[in-house]
Homo-oligomer: 276 residues x 4
């Protein structure tokens, strides 16, 4: 193989592996996504002791099949990419490596059962493929709304954290270790379970005073969920409106969009906008 | 019966069965809806072993009464409709058939108890009648808002699914089979129970690390419910505004819109607006 | 007492009992509200067996004190009001009677313990007094928002009812009586517990298929709470906007309010509005 | 030390302790915040019996270290502040005293274990330092939104309180003491647990009627959470809009407001707007 041929091969492989414009590239993505999903299902099902003992040979075979497949893919990615170290140290490069490493390590250390769960992280690789789909714009809207209100949400979460520590401590004094609130960390855990309205019931107040105080905490938790919801609603409404307005009219003078419904003059160039 | 008479009868029956404009058609709808509701209540009550054993004769009698009634209705529908195959293969045609089939099958295979539950699907038939009521416009608003944000909701649900798999796997490693998290599917089930703030308590973390991680998951679940709620709020707000505007009128003088329902003069030019 | 004196007395009593403008009327309201609250606390504490047995004499004494007080008030209300039958048959007339009846009935039928709980309904009487406070405008806003979206909420609740029946029936088939889902009504109860994210855990799925289906129901419940919330948010936003606008400017010509911020002419009379 | 030197020292210490503009003041705040957090973690960990018994000496040592540190800080604060009695009786003055008192009291009364939990209140002192951070504006927005709708929320909470009392009493009659609803306070506690969708499951209805009534309560609780959420959403939306407008500028030509941040020409008259 001449260097010229090698270069052409590299470029062709790059187009297939990293892009999704060609039919071959699309096919590669579809196969990759199904391999990821199937290998993750394999890990999930294997964790069940019942199936694990009965079909152990098949699980091992399937696991090695996917590992070799992903190893081949990993080597090809390194081969075709120009700046190899950049890819290897990138977020997806590390995830790609983590997806194949546990199986090889299990050869050296046979008992490392829990390490196998790292293979679940293969799921992250699905995001790379999804990046190419049309869903990205919707996901972007969600991400923008979250970012725009991230500071408000941080203040909200700090307030929740302080609240939960104080509530947990008070409850520890009220109920005490004899009713399941064995120390303050456990009481704080109970406060989180109650304030978020999860309510396992593994720990619950037994004295009258404790039940009264717990009732107040519940109504508090039931009410303050309105805060993050209100923040997000306002954010989405604002985004929605901005989108609605931007589709409105075009200035004939400077051809720019984004005018308010009641605008009579272009806010960018001062030209008159037709009000039809 | 001459073909002419048969044709007139068919048309008259069609008007009664499929439409609700005539008094006879309305009466038919009311009888049908009560038959459906009563037959569903019969199925629900019959499932209780206590009543089942005591009044078995009455349940069987009632069941056959409704089955024969619905069979008669089904035959009449096929008789009166013009394109018979289209009706039979339509969604409501299949539901109509499923509503009567289980009782006949129980004659051939006496033990098919669980099959009887299919009769609950008769409830679907209520929707056909409701289609004719005035509630349809409200239901439409709800449906439109759901459709308009269906893509955002799909992205949200995919994110939830991925989150739940990752959280479940991590919790499986933290708590392990000895604390109730017997395999990854069970851990994922726990993650769903916790993230949605349902919190049965059939499985709950017992170690300190597990309770700390669970607390984070709960606060996460408590916070991200704001996302679908924010999406829907923005959608309903937009629809509300659009509806408000669509009822508005145009000033004959300056041709501008956006007048309140009670306005008698144009707020832009002062001209009179027709109040029709 | 001459008829004239009796008339003056009646009017003075009416002002005290039914109105709250005079100092005596305000004092009467404050005493009444505290009597109601204390008598309700008495009923609640009395239900506790521990206190009931120990302080039975005091409970009986207190109960008769409040009953005689409310009886006197009831007689005075009938005496001072002009159209006696209208008051007696009105909502508050019936509540006033129900507040005193159970204690008298307990004289005739000593064992009617549960009847005593009807006395809790005295709480309703608090609303009559609250009607006079400044809180009424806020309560009105809430009531209006609920009324304005009542049809949407009714459609939503009907959909929930149908959903819960279908989910309950499917779960009855999946899990069956051996796992706690003993009949369809119980399964429907489980469906409500799960869909509303309450999650008692008294009944919970035990098979893998059941847990998978339950997970879907939970995520469904977690998502569709966005619907009523979105409806109410949109409603409150609209009301908020309307209030903001109505406080805006006054037409110098016809002195009417409620103009939009961008309005230059009065929408009621066509006069020019000052834009300051 | 001359009085003059003492005055200069006082002013310098005041700047360090109460303000955060100088490097020394910032350093003091950082050290203070970490001392508070570490001392609170100490209290939380100490509550665990396991650690308490093993490392008791270290806990006592750490506790005295922090107590002496906070005592020194408290004395310095009193020393540097001008109006001493105002500081001592202020909210933060009392919290500062409560943060050191329990440890000294434990010398006199060795068994006062629960008193130690008061030390958790040291967390309050974190707020004083946070007051100086940039997060304050976000926290202010949250606080304003809560205040603006505080009356609506109060009406909502009163309605919840009345609802919960009535529901609890009805459930007490339906289920009775034999099914865990041992008195009305306990039934009210159950009503709160159910209405807020917490759902511990420590008390749950067992009769058919009770389960039916509980289902209605759950759906009610699931629906009315929309009310506070709607209130807050509307409030945040309004604030958002006001903030958007408040950043806007005034056209020098027609003196009208409401221009977008990126606007260069007035949308009403076409005049140039200063972009400063």
């Amino acid at each position: 193989m001449t260097p010229e041929e090698s270069k052409i091969l590299k470029r062709r492989l790059y187009k297939i592996i990293f892009e999704a414009d060609t039919p071959a590239g699309k096919l590669f993505d579809v196969i990759l996504i199904w391999s990821i999903i199937l290998s993750v299902i394999l890990v999930i099902v294997e964790s069940s002791h019942e199936y694990h003992d009965r079909y152990q040979v098949w699980f091992t075979a399937g696991e090695w099949l996917f590992t070799l497949l992903f190893t081949a893919e990993y080597i090809l990615r390194i081969y075709t990419v120009r700046k190899k170290s950049v890819y290897i140290l990138s977020f997806y490069g590390v995830v790609d490596l983590l997806a194949i490493l546990p199986t090889y390590i299990s050869l050296l250390f046979p008992g490392s059962q829990y390490l196998m769960v790292i293979r679940i992280l293969r799921l992250m690789r699905v995001f790379r493929v999804f990046k190419l789909t049309t869903f990205i714009s919707e996901a972007n809207t969600l991400r923008k709304a979250l970012l725009a209100s991230s500071r408000k949400i941080l203040v909200f979460l700090s307030a929740i954290a302080l609240l939960v520590i104080v509530i947990g401590s008070i409850m520890y004094v009220i109920e005490g270790p004899s009713h399941g609130f064995k120390d303050i960390p456990t009481s704080i855990y109970w406060a989180v379970v109650t304030l978020t309205t999860v309510g396992y019931g593994d720990i619950s107040p037994q004295t009258g005073v404790g039940q009264f105080f717990a009732s107040i905490v519940m109504i508090l938790g039931y009410s303050i969920i309105a805060v993050p919801t209100g923040i997000m609603s306002a954010e989405f409404s604002r985004m929605r409106n901005r989108t609605d307005n931007s589709t409105a009219r075009v200035c004939q003078n400077c051809m720019r969009e984004g005018h308010d419904p009641e605008a009579r003059y272009c806010k960018f160039c001062g030209g008159i906008i037709d009000t039809d």
